[in-house]
């Protein structure tokens, strides 16, 4: 519940009145007039659906323009999960089997924040990745690289009260795909987050600094804005690195922030 502490502070006066009146009378559906929406992205900071260099987008991207809708109660609410939904040890991908997986052990940590820098506590973060050889434990992955009996490649966790998450894993390998001649995906970890609302749902990928494959990757380059792309690259971090144990990488994830007033941005 602490994810919603800030609501009253940032609501407009009308919104506060509506909530107070509602709480006072017990039943007042019509008083829930408008909700405080989430901000729309700055152009270029999110990918387009059609990105022809990413060949799979050509037959899957919608061809009709999207219909812009205001945020309603349906969009500013969203699925909520708690400790009871989480397997407590599963943030450690190196301890899900009898033995340890092969590969460079590493810690991936960061904070989940909104656009105003407010932490997003107690939200689910899910990750999945290839093993150190660049192979996923998936029936459709036909890459001729070995599976690792000690590595499933998936984990999840809940952010703490300050929005922090932490995974222990191994560095995923790069792998070939058939998008274009000699195509290789840069090393990456898939991330999935819910945040506080349907509107804040995010699936993304974290990349590694200095990866020579980033420049030719159509998925990474699907985001037009250079700075937005760079934010998908984790930072190597000495403070997270544990001596004799594991390299540390920091990857903060920013989810959409609230409109400043309930009526702002209702295009």
């Amino acid at each position: 519940m602490s994810g919603f502490d800030g609501i009253l502070k940032i609501c407009s006066p009308d919104c506060i009145l509506a909530r107070v009146a509602h709480n006072g009378r017990g039943t007042a559906l019509s008083l829930i007039t408008d909700v405080q929406g989430y901000r729309r992205p700055i152009p270029g900071t999110q990918p387009e659906y059609l990105h022809p260099a990413y060949v799979s987008s050509i037959k899957r991207a919608p061809t009709q323009p999207l219909v812009v809708i205001p945020h309603t109660l349906s969009e500013v609410t969203g699925p909520q999960f708690g400790k009871e939904d989480i397997a407590p040890e599963i943030f450690d991908l190196t301890r899900q089997h009898a033995g340890e997986p092969l590969g460079e052990r590493m810690i991936v940590t960061g904070r989940v924040l909104d656009e105003d820098g407010r932490s997003i506590p107690h939200t689910v973060v899910e990750i999945w990745q290839a093993n150190a050889a660049g192979r996923y434990l998936h029936k459709w992955d036909q890459h001729n690289a070995p599976l690792d009996p000690n590595f499933t490649g998936s984990g999840h966790t809940l952010t703490d009260a300050e929005g922090r998450y932490r995974f222990i894993t191994i560095k995923p390998g790069c792998y070939p795909w058939r998008n274009h001649y000699n195509a290789w995906r840069p090393a990456h970890i898939h991330f999935s987050l819910f945040g506080p609302a349907f509107a804040t749902r995010l699936v993304t990928q974290m990349y590694f600094p200095g990866d020579p494959l980033l420049a030719s990757d159509p998925i990474f380059n699907g985001t037009p804005d250079e700075a937005a792309r760079q934010r998908l690259i984790a930072n190597f971090d000495w403070e997270t690195t544990v001596p004799e144990t594991a390299l540390g990488f920091r990857f903060d994830i920013i989810l959409r922030g609230r409109e400043q007033t309930p009526m702002e941005g209702k295009a």
């Binding site: 309603t72 609410t77 969203g78 999960f81 990745q129 998908l232």
Partner: protein, 189 residues
Amino acid sequence: MKLQPTSSQTVGPFFDIGLRRFCCADLLVPGLSGSRITIEGRVLDGNGLPVPDAVVEVWQANAHGKYAHPEDTQDKPLESAFKGYGRIATDDQGRFRITTIKPGPVPGPRGTNQAPHLEISVFMRGLLKRLVTRIYFPDDPRNGADPVLALVAPERRGTLIAKAAPGQPDRLAWDVVLQGAGETVFFDC
């Protein structure tokens, strides 16, 4: 402090290993009120071919029109075991099936009411960000006054409304058509 939201990236073809934990095709819980429904459909690409590597997510209110979320302050019954959340991966033929209850109406902008609907996200390889759409219910008189349906060109509204099987009003069909004739309406939200 002003930060920019992290860029979306595709879920890729192998999400199944990572998103399994929160997969749920059956939203029903014991004692849940409301009329039970199943929604079956397929995800189809621009060639009309099934998409076997899509994941469909559902968010919905309960039968009273109450969301299981702290920002829903309506004085309506909350059924605490009902999360209102589902996640279904398509099968080899691009099919998915959701078992749930028909939600009640929820408030819309400026004092309107929204007709019963499910909020839908669709993720797949080839999509660098999710698609957002809605499922409405056939023959519901409230559809005519729904403020979101009203934003959609009349000839395309049908793509947002599930179809009942003949003689089986609880068994609904609804497809996600990514391109071409009958292309599903997707929202910028």
